[in-house]
Amino acid sequence: MTGAIDTAGPAPATHKRPGRSRAAASDLAKRERRAAYLFLSPNLIGLTVFVAVPMLLSIVLAFFSVDGFGGYTFVGTANFERMVGDPQFIDSLGRTMIYLFVLVPGLFLSGLGLALLVRSQFPLVGLFRTALFAPNVVSLVVVALIWNFLLTDDVGFVAKLLGRLGITAPSWLGDPSYALGTVMVITIWFSMGYYMLIFLAGLQDIPREFYEVASIDGAGPWQTFRNVTWPMLKPTSFFILLTSTIAVMTGGLEMLVILTSGGPANSTTLIVYYVYQQAFVYGEFGYASAIGSIMVLILLAWSALLFALTRGGRFTHAD
């Protein structure tokens, strides 16, 4: 538009107008940048004040012995060395790895499976989607309390239901052989709706034409899934693998506190509970910070590995 006007104008003006145009464009770019920063600033400030700064301070704290009453003594790497000789830390880390290796695939598969089930349009599909997502809108504290009552030994709903079928229910939360598995099942039940929703969004982004072409080519359901759905879902899968790992490793504390308090016999003391226990029950803020720092390192390493393997989630050399 400015070009058309410029060419029609007198010579002196043609010298000035492009300059003004560049200046105007520059002003516009500046204004856009300012607007962008303005929109970003609430989040940036929030992340800096409530995440980045405390995280850095927490890492600094890992090099101190903290008495919980304002006394700080620099201890170098003593808190990190202590971890090596702390069997409870090693046990909780090992337990967390088991938890991770079961739960992340569990959440992935359940989320994907449910998304595939509810992506079709059938009567009451909206109701099903809502019902599956509903646990996510309930507080984890409430979820834990409800399951606590459902799983009560002998007189709980689940025990009575199984009893009618002639099955003697074990002590789901009181037997170390079952407690961690029970927590995993509840976590999957609680979280799968969220991952279903993410997968559903990914599925709905796949152009319908791809399926029509596959159908014309005579592809069956499995071939369609393998050759159309799965490749197109890779970016979504990457996102879910990354976020579910972080969520599983750092979340669910409220449920552990209410359901099991890390027991029975430490069988549900995951690393996140151990950090909480060291910091807020034992007042070992320095040691807890050191463990928290190791958790951050593990998650950073996992994220970097995932990014490298998937080329930033794009799964291709192109781009």
Binding site: F50, V51, V53, P54, M55, L57, S58, V60, L61, V66, D67, G68, F69, G70, G71, Y72, N148, F149, T152, D153, D154, V155, S171, L173, G174, D175, P176, T250, T260, S261, G262, G263, P264, A265, N266, S267, V275, Y276, A279, F280, V281, Y282, G283, E284, F285, A288, S289, G292
Partner: protein, 430 residues
């Protein structure tokens, strides 16, 4: 994130003296007032707290404000102190007190108390708040543990008062008869934590066991008495007499009323729970049975007032604690007695208040009399162990009770952990 938040708060606050509020009245963190619900018992307790503070405020220039703070003794309190924003006055339990004593954040209340007042407190119960001549908290109540039983369940199982167990063997036998008759079992805590340790200690004490030597310098946990006590709780679960998870969400009243439990180890506070929720329930109580050759023993729980030495006015805070619970005048004695037998069902922590509570009719019921006469005299104050020692004991209990651990191995492992910790422990005698 929570840890990071605490780190930020701690770093930002610095190490100087500070309090929960920068100005205004001194803050008294408690879990009674202002009342969190309309429940009559809760309101009555809140009224006692408010009346006590109101009277202080009317007579003194330093004003105090009650702040409701749930779950005192754990996250909220420790985080507040770590951030330099601890309350001026607060409630503290024996299980938590050693950290605060060793952190030098509690005011020594001894200079604020008359010798008559100090002598008036029951020494065994007071011991866990004392270091040498220093008094770091004043108990507001004493809460001994006993075994409650459901008379309807006993009757249904064909048992009578004469069958009340006096020994461990009888306890297991009666529990077996109750369970075999379709009644609920014998409930002790199974959730790991300070409370479970508190409830378990008497079983070890009865056989002469201790966690540590008398001078507090070495572990005494690896003993036959410990092994026997661990084995008793293990047997309860393995024989199917003790549920692995406390029934009815750990609610003794519902469990007895619904028939989910027949015997339940709990404190004197449960009497008021029944008075409130099931006043007509036919409830009985008896002292904890003893092992062969053992002596009766029970734990004495209860909360105490403490003053923050890092607060805005430690002197006024300490004077308030001493005045509220340690006054030797008539009103002061009555105040303590009213708290223990009118708003709660507890044993007063002072002889004079116990006498006053007797005069007030606080022990006219069979249950309260049993606690006063048969259970309280064998009581010992709840130990004040640091977290590492608490955890060593807790791990032994949990392993044996719920994971089939060998009691002898667990006692030895616990003792090793305690000894290792004591080698580097610096602080008040445990």
């Amino acid at each position: 994130m929570a840890l990071a938040g605490a780190a930020a708060a701690a770093s930002l606050s610095g190490c100087g003296s500070s309090s929960a509020a920068a100005e205004g009245p001194l803050q008294f963190w408690n879990f009674y007032a202002p009342p969190p619900s309309d429940d009559p018992a809760t309101v009555a307790r809140a009224q006692w707290m408010q009346a006590t503070v109101d009277q202080w405020n009317a007579e003194n220039s330093e004003q105090i404000e009650l702040v409701f703070a749930p779950v005192l003794g754990s996250e909220k309190l420790s985080t507040a102190f770590a951030a330099g924003t601890g309350p001026d006055i607060f409630l503290i339990s024996p299980g938590d007190i050693i950290r605060y004593i060793n952190g030098d954040v509690l005011v020594d209340l001894e200079p604020y108390l008359s010798q008559e007042a100090i002598d008036d407190f029951f020494p065994d119960n007071m011991a866990t708040r004392v270091v040498g001549d220093q008094v770091f908290a004043l108990p507001m109540e004493i809460e001994p543990l006993a075994l409650y039983y459901s008379r309807p369940a006993f009757e249904q199982a064909g048992l009578s008062e004469g069958d009340i167990p006096a020994t461990w063997d009888e306890l297991l036998d009666i529990a077996d008869k109750l369970v075999s008759a379709g009644q609920g079992g014998w409930v002790v805590p199974t959730t790991q934590g300070y409370y479970q340790n508190f409830v378990w200690y008497p079983w070890m004490w009865q056989g002469g066991g201790r966690v540590m030597s008398d001078d507090g310098t070495s572990a005494a946990f690896d003993s036959q008495a410990t092994i026997d006590a661990l084995t008793l709780w293990k047997s309860g679960v393995e024989l199917g007499l003790t549920p692995r998870v406390e029934p009815a969400g750990d609610d003794i009243v519902s469990s007895f009323v619904e028939g989910y439990a027949s015997m339940w180890q709990s404190g004197i506070w449960s009497i008021s729970d029944f008075q409130r929720k099931a006043p007509d329930f036919d409830l009985g109580v008896f002292p904890l049975p003893v092992p062969p050759g053992g002596e009766p023993a029970t734990s004495l729980g209860g909360w105490a007032f403490a003053a923050n030495a890092m607060g805005r006015n430690p002197d006024a805070a300490a004077r308030f604690c001493a005045w509220a619970l340690g006054s030797t005048d008539d009103a002061g004695i009555t105040r303590v007695a009213e708290w223990c037998v009118q708003t709660k069902t507890d044993i007063p922590p002072r002889q004079s208040a116990l006498d006053r509570a007797n005069e007030m009719g606080g022990f006219d019921t069979e249950l309260m009399r049993t606690f006063r006469d048969d259970i309280f005299p064998s009581g010992r104050g709840e130990p004040r162990f640091p977290p590492v020692i608490y955890k060593a004991v807790s791990d032994a209990i949990q392993s044996c009770q719920l994971a089939g651990g060998d009691a002898a191995d667990q006692a030895a492992t616990g003792a090793q952990a305690i000894d290792a910790y004591l080698q580097t422990y610096e602080g008040a005698q445990l």
